[in-house]
């Protein structure tokens, strides 16, 4: 059994005060035999050294990632640090981090990092928690696919880092809060009697455009043409003017026409040749339909997700909803956080941070989990 405890601080100006505040919340906790820490924070906390100072005080490994806005059951803030410790007598935790990832080395780096963490365990883990870097030349789906192959389809839950803005500036994943290296992936493995549950919910049907376009030219995650027109022209035809700085506000529902449910993917960046690097595979022949992120849609899907979460009698809740949801809720950006607070309060401790892409397994019709990358979703792991 895993127990979970959280701590939160908004203190950015005084390291000691921040650390003291955090330790004051975690210190009294009776930690069990094995523990691992998960840290979501605004990048300021890394810059000010608060994350590092705090992690140094802890007797266990910590992995973390920058998020836009964080919350636990006590507080929330755009500029906050939220910490959760998972502790257990039966479950063993190990952690690792890669070097800087790029299109050429990500598979190898992830493989080596996993091997290091896995090597410390008596057997295959039951759960992987991973914080992925947001890269300009590798889509989230590609990294998840590689990791899935490496770990043998052990359920992977986590997300892509989010930065201070929609350009993902200063987005980082890290281990122990130290040696902050750009484009690194941090992972934690949990071995033992872990039976996590996962909830992920995307854009509601009514927010997806009815008429769909057919992908007529693409190259893996690079989308070139829809309905025979360059992607930017296609978007213009349907009334959408968008660039790399705000491409994440436009969800694309992709139907692979293989019987599986459509997935929401984002445009990571528009490239110089006019093509768009997307967060997942865009095969020719698949259809896409732009969606809209609305307050109604966001709160609707979160509400439904929370309804299923409260059915589980578990000890902790980790949530990584998509950063675009937070952005598009403006000016009421805390609506989703408030909804979580009002629904979950008192039931179990939780940690929530808005990330740049969600990694969460989905079940097939036989109940088997498949690791998937998502965008624009509300994603949760219940431990």
């Amino acid at each position: 059994m895993i127990s979970m405890y959280t701590a939160y601080t908004r203190e950015l100006d005084n390291i000691d005060k921040a650390v003291e505040e955090l330790l004051g919340q975690i210190g009294p906790v009776a930690l069990k035999k094995n523990s691992v820490g998960l840290l979501n924070c605004h990048s300021d906390f890394l810059e000010e050294g608060i994350a590092e100072a705090f992690c140094k005080k802890l007797p266990f490994d910590v992995i973390g990632m920058t998020t836009m806005a964080t919350a636990d059951q006590t507080r929330f803030d755009t500029y906050g640090l939220c910490f959760a410790v998972l502790t257990s007598d039966e479950v063993i935790f190990t952690t690792a981090a890669t070097g800087p990832l790029d299109a050429d080395n990500y598979k190898e780096e992830i493989g080596e990092a996993y091997a290091r963490a896995r090597g410390k365990l008596p057997g295959d883990p039951a759960l992987v928690i991973a914080y992925f870097p947001t890269l300009r030349d590798v889509g989230g789906a590609s990294m998840v696919t590689a990791f899935d192959e490496i770990c043998g389809s052990v359920p992977i839950w986590g997300g892509l880092t989010a930065g201070v803005d929609m350009r993902y500036s200063q987005s980082l994943a890290f281990r122990h809060g130290e040696r902050v290296i750009p484009n690194t992936l941090a992972l934690a493995l949990a071995y033992g009697p872990v039976e996590p549950e996962f909830v992920v919910m995307s854009i509601p049907e009514q927010n997806i455009r009815e008429s769909k376009g057919v992908i007529t030219a693409s190259d893996g995650c690079v989308l070139r043409e829809v309905n025979g027109r360059p992607i930017s022209d296609y978007l213009e035809d349907i009334g959408i003017t968008i660039g790399s700085e705000d491409s994440v506000t436009l969800p694309l529902m992709v139907d692979y026409r293989d019987g599986s449910s459509p997935v929401a993917l984002s445009i990571v960046i528009f490239r110089e040749d006019g093509s768009a690097l997307c967060s997942g595979e865009m095969p020719e022949g698949a259809t896409i339909a732009p969606g809209t992120i609305t307050q109604e849609g966001i709160l609707g899907t979160t509400g439904k997700s929370l309804e299923s979460i409260v059915q589980y009698k578990k000890n902790g809740l980790l949530m990584l909803p998509c950063v675009t949801r937070y952005t598009m809720l403006a000016p009421n950006q805390t609506d989703e956080i408030n909804l979580v607070a009002s629904t979950i309060a008192g039931r179990m401790p939780y940690m929530m941070g808005y990330c740049g892409g969600e990694v969460c397994p989905v079940r097939d019709k036989n109940g088997k989990y498949h690791n998937r990358f998502h965008n624009y979703t509300f994603s949760a792991c219940i431990v």
Binding site: I238, I240, T327, A330
Partner: protein, 736 residues
């Protein structure tokens, strides 16, 4: 104290400071520096915080911009998507062939497709605003609200429950009513609240008409099948019954009577079967024509021979008019053409009372690039056909009415088949008639002008020595002779009876050719012939008795009276010309005489053929019918035996009759093997005997190597014709 000491120390120069004063100064300096450092750190922290806060504000502003842009995009996309939806909806509704009407919760019209406005003659939808469904539809007819359909609609509207009904709607007085399937569907929004309802009128008039037509056709087919069953069973009953009677009877005359009836019933049954098969071919689109070059007048002659017996039985007058411009030979399917004419003549004979009149006319409508368009008609003074009956006449499975069928019999397929044949010949067929006033059935057909440059017999005769006297009480016949004489330019006098004829002979002198009708008031033809002979006519003079009747019974008396020969009516120019040529000593012959059995005795003596036929009775029939010809026939029962027997002595056989469907090996395979067996096998004529007469079946026979085919049931005349064609005959020795 310390402050005082500090102040004092600060007034001194360094060299005058005491050790204690120096210490105080250093301590205070340290405190000062630490304070400044702390202040600097605070300032730096403050600056970082300020920078951070500025950055936060900048990020917040940027996010606001991004959100604003995203929302603007959403609005724009939604707007365009909405416009697109509206455009498609507009197109859908404007072009929908179904009437779709949207009603609000109070059943008032809020929208309709354009087709509704058009059909209802409403210029502007605005005039319907606020009106309920009932108010609007009531304007078309109050009566319809008594219909069950509309009643159910109103009930469904009140209950807000879906329903599907059928209604008949008449939009205005000038249009026929249309049948609609109407779907009433209450509409609900996403949250389940009522949004009004929808009516969809789908025009099913055409489908209903097609369904009714199909039902009628099905009924007609069922009736037809029932009728055909009767038509087939009736002669079968006669055949079986008469056979039983013949077997039980010891009287030869009785047996002969029974056999005659069996023959008649068999022919009738064969006719029914042929009609059904023809109709099946038409329905299956396998009805084809087989064009050949043929003598047109001869074809008509053969046709009249078929109906003459019944014409004579009913003592009807039957005339044939042939346009002299019709080429002697034509290229077309003579058998199918004859089938049409025979059908029309048979109907004319059937539906014309005793002593009525029937005329067959053939004219050349046009001749263009070697294609002749013929116009043929059969006119009778029969019972006539009403206009309603005329509309159904040429339909399959339908006679004029079932009463006609019961009274006059027949399959009812003849005209439908004739229509198909005529249409395949590029023509059309029609009827002109009034009930009780006879009928004229006419049709056009195209045929190629014959390539054979055979001159008609009439063109071959030297007419200048002919002197012809035609004697007939019918003015029509006398006119016919005179018309023929004018056309062919030969001298011809006419007389209306025996006495008149004698007066003409006395006045004008003897004639070398006399055509006298048998039945005339006063002096009949036999008596006239006697008087002509007694009057000293030249022995070479010819007296021909013309009659529609069978002259078998009076032949002896007629010949004794001096009748040289007989001419059957209706008259044909070539038949007349035939006798004229004899009278003039030219001995030209119009048509080759059909062989009669009596003329074939021993005609095939010394010849040997192989017959492959698995059915014993069929073998027996062939053997019996060909027995008088003295031909030797070796029989085998299947294709394998045929191949073996032939290979045992291929030089023994001059011809093979090969049945098609046989056990062990069929006729096609046997033919292939015989053809592959050597020189004799390659050359021997093999004639297929087949019940399958579709063109593709005949093609299969020819592909397998067969030389010819005979249809089953076997026509004995055709068998003889094939034998004559393929056996190496000395014709002079074999003809009677």
């Amino acid at each position: 104290m310390e402050d005082t000491a500090l102040n004092e120390a600060m007034t001194k120069t360094p060299e005058t400071l005491s050790k204690e004063e120096l210490l105080i100064l250093v301590q205070n300096l340290r405190i000062l520096i630490a304070g400044q450092q702390s202040r600097v750190a605070e300032l730096e922290k403050g600056e970082r915080k300020s920078r951070r806060e500025i950055l936060h504000l900048q990020n917040a502003v940027e996010q606001e911009k991004i959100v604003a842009n995203a929302k603007a995009n959403q609005v724009a996309a939604r707007f365009l998507a909405q416009r697109e939806r509206e455009r498609y909806m507009k197109l859908l509704l404007e072009n929908s062939t179904d009437i779709i009407i949207l009603l609000d919760k109070a059943h008032r019209l809020v929208y309709s497709t354009n087709i509704f406005l058009t059909r209802a003659g409403i210029a502007d939808f605005a005039s319907l605003t606020g009106r309920t469904f009932e108010e609007i539809f009531r304007r078309f007819s109050d009566q319809q609200w008594n219909d069950e359909g509309y009643g159910q609609l109103l009930e469904a509207m009140r209950a807000n429950k879906p329903v599907c009904v059928t209604v008949v709607q008449k939009w205005n007085e000038n249009e026929a009513p249309c049948k609609y399937t109407v779907h009433f569907t209450p509409m609900s929004g996403r949250t389940g609240e009522s949004e009004g309802s929808m009516l969809l009128f789908h025009n099913v008039t055409e489908i209903e008409n097609a369904r009714e037509a199909a039902e009628r056709a099905s009924t007609a087919k069922s009736d037809f099948l029932s009728h055909m069953s009767h038509e087939m069973r009736t002669p079968m009953n006669a055949i079986i019954g008469m056979t039983a009677i013949a077997k039980d009877s010891s009287s030869i005359e009785r047996k002969q009577y029974c056999l005659d009836k069996i023959e008649e019933a068999s022919k009738h049954l064969l006719g029914v079967i042929n009609d059904i098969l023809d109709m099946s071919k038409i329905e299956a689109n396998k009805f084809t024509l087989s064009p050949v070059e043929f003598n047109f007048e001869k074809m008509l002659h053969n046709v009249t021979n078929v109906v003459n017996f019944r014409v004579e039985e009913k003592r009807q007058k039957f005339y044939v008019d042939i346009d002299k411009n019709i080429p002697v030979t034509l290229i077309g399917d003579d058998q199918r053409l004859a089938q049409v004419i025979t059908n029309l003549l048979s109907n004319a004979v059937k539906f014309t009372p005793e002593a009525g009149l029937i005329r067959l006319s053939a004219a050349l409508e046009s001749l263009d690039n070697g294609i002749c368009t013929l116009l043929l008609s059969v006119t009778d003074t029969g019972i006539g056909i009403s206009r309603e009956q005329q509309e159904r006449l040429f339909n399959s499975f339908v006679q004029a009415d079932s009463g006609t069928t019961r009274k006059f019999g027949g399959t009812g397929l003849g005209l439908a088949i004739s229509k198909r044949i005529v249409e395949m010949m590029g023509g059309r067929i029609w009827v002109e008639s009034e009930l009780g006033k006879g009928a004229t059935f006419a049709f056009t057909a195209s045929a190629g002008r014959g390539v054979n440059k055979q001159r008609g017999l009439v063109d071959s005769i030297k007419w200048d020595t002919a002197r012809v006297l035609a004697v007939d009480s019918e003015a029509e016949i006398r006119d016919y002779f005179q018309h023929l004489a004018r056309h062919l330019v030969f001298p011809c006098d006419v007389a209306e009876g025996g006495e008149a004829a004698l007066r003409v002979i006395e006045r004008n002198g003897p004639y070398n050719l006399h055509f006298v009708s048998w039945t005339m008031p006063g002096m009949n033809g036999i008596e006239l012939a006697r008087r002509i002979r007694e009057g000293g006519a030249d022995k070479s003079a010819i007296v021909i008795m013309a009659s529609a009747a069978e002259w078998g019974d009076i032949e002896e008396e007629a010949k004794a009276a001096g009748i040289s020969g007989f001419l059957s009516k209706p008259l044909f120019p070539s038949s007349i010309a035939d006798w004229i040529s004899q009278a003039l000593g030219q001995h030209l012959t119009a048509f080759e005489e059909e062989s009669e059995l009596g003329l074939l005795n021993d005609c095939f003596k010394g010849h040997r053929i192989l017959l492959a036929e698995d059915v014993e009775i069929n073998r027996e029939i062939v053997l019996s019918l060909l027995e008088p010809t003295s031909i030797e026939i070796d029989c085998v029962e299947n294709g394998l035996e045929a191949v073996e027997r032939f290979s045992e002595g291929p030089e023994h056989y001059e011809m093979i009759f090969m049945d098609m469907q046989m056990p062990l090996m069929d006729g096609l395979e046997a033919t292939r093997r015989i053809r592959a067996s050597g020189k004799f096998g390659r050359n021997i004529p093999i004639v297929a005997m087949t019940a399958n007469v579709f063109s593709e079946d005949i093609a299969k026979c020819l592909e397998a190597g067969m030389s010819d085919h005979l249809g089953k049931p076997l026509d004995f005349q055709e068998v003889i014709t094939k034998l004559k064609k393929y056996l190496a005959l000395d014709m002079k020795a074999s003809s009677a």
